[in-house]
């Protein structure tokens, strides 16, 4: 029963990730409109486009984190919680180790994801 439950949980997780990815694809597709990415649409429409991307990002991030966690777990690493840190300035100052609680022998797992939009 436990194995079946675990498998069904995994199936749900995969389904959620696929669904979130499909919805994100839809949102990113909308932003390709010639008045969206160009920034030439009316203000209200611009707000709508950004909200669409925001909402779909909020749905995708947890699902994506779960996938990373699952991959890390398969590799033998477990983590209670994953936290996103985005290096906006592309420097080591963006996500300083000192900002995380590493007391009492706590460890840290760093998963690096390639933000390249070429799919590579």
């Amino acid at each position: 029963m436990f194995a079946v439950n675990a498998l069904s949980q995994q199936a749900i997780s995969v389904t959620n990730t696929l669904e979130a990815t499909a919805q994100m694809l839809d949102a990113v597709g909308v932003t390709q409109h010639h008045d969206a990415i160009t920034g030439t649409c009316l203000h209200d429409i611009s707000v709508y486009y950004k909200k669409l991307v925001f909402d779909r990002t909020q749905k995708l991030m947890p699902a994506y984190s779960e996938v990373i966690g699952s991959l890390a777990k398969d590799a033998g690493y477990t983590s209670l919680a994953w936290e996103w840190c985005t290096p906006y300035k592309s420097s080591v100052d963006d996500c300083p180790v000192s900002s995380y609680d590493l007391s009492s022998g706590k460890g840290m797992i760093v998963a690096v994801h390639n933000p390249s939009d070429t799919g590579l």
Partner: protein, 111 residues
Amino acid sequence: MKERYRSNQLLITMGEDFAFQHAQKYFERSDAFVDYFNTNVGPSNNVYLTYSTPAIFIDAVRQDNVEWPTKYDDLFPYGSDSMSNWVGFYSSRPLDKAYYRRGSQLLSSAE
């Protein structure tokens, strides 16, 4: 118009911004115009109208066996006339552009 085309296939694009707000009437009139033209004007001039697609147009042009030159110029930025260059949008709402770019990156990673 024929001077601008190397083959016998003349591409006439339909519509523009806001042109399809009354789509029903638009297409009823287009249909009527095409029917009238093909019945009353076409036969005596050997010119016919047909609704088409880019693929159909290109296939028809290929059959005309035209020798095509190679273009090396850059199509961008778009200059709609001698005094108008569409360059503003390359930098309009830069934060929106950055945001959509990040969304695209996340999507690529997730895929």
